[in-house]
Amino acid sequence: MIKLFICFQYGTIFNYVSELFPTHIRGMALGISVLIGRVITSLSSYMIFVTDRLHLHPLATAMLTSLLALPFSYLLRETKDQKMSN
């Protein structure tokens, strides 16, 4: 189920990010956000290591990241049926 919702989000996030920014900074914004994402992916194996050391389930990391991302998702504006800026 978690993987399913990850795919749901993954399928739309790139369009969503593109629509959030005006054209002249769109590429840079998408690039920076994907860069940060990839850096965090490279740290995910260490997250498993840390959760093992703390005797937690590895999905505790996913829980924390979802919890952190949820309020920030609320802050972003809706772009569906809206006129794109430039």
Binding site: I2, F5, T12, L56
Partner: protein
């Protein structure tokens, strides 16, 4: 020809004006910067979960690498097929929020179930060892080893 040239040069100057007014450094404006931070956190969380989820099948006891890969692939294809139908009907913000919410609920459920299971397992183990060591119903050490094997088998049948 001259008119066409004039139009083209006019367009060029307009384009130059637009280019000079819109710089790539606009990303450091407060409004864009806040959006970028929010997007980066959402994207970072998504990628972290993507990385962690690869290990989950292994953690819940699916040791077969082919089954592991097949499960991951099938779920992924299923997710992309579903989003194909939903993406233009539901708002992007809603998809984002609800995906985060459901991921949170699913992972929370798994973590809580795992902790309950661990408590049960350790409780059972303690009870069985108490029976073995204190009441001496099973005197030979071979029986104790069999009991350990029994507990491990029981554990593998429980849902993690």
């Amino acid at each position: 020809m001259e008119r066409a040239f004039r139009l083209t040069s006019k367009k060029k100057s307009e384009l130059r004006e637009v280019a000079s007014s819109a710089s790539s450094l606009d990303i450091f404006q407060k409004k864009h910067l806040l959006t970028l931070v929010a997007v980066s956190i959402v994207m970072g969380g998504l990628y972290a979960e993507y990385g962690v989820c690869i290990f989950i099948n292994q953690k819940i006891g699916i040791d077969n690498i082919f089954l592991n890969g097949t499960l991951l692939g099938v779920v992924e294809v299923f997710g992309y097929v579903l989003i194909y139908f939903f993406a233009n009907r539901v708002g992007r913000r809603q998809i984002n929020i609800y995906s985060n919410l459901y991921k949170l609920v699913c992972s929370l459920t798994l973590v809580v179930m795992d902790s309950i299971h661990n408590e049960m397992y350790h409780g059972l183990k303690k009870a069985v060892w108490f029976q073995v060591t204190e009441t001496s119903n099973l005197p030979d050490p071979g029986s104790a080893r069999h009991l350990q094997i029994y507990i491990d088998a029981l554990r593998s049948n429980l849902i993690i």
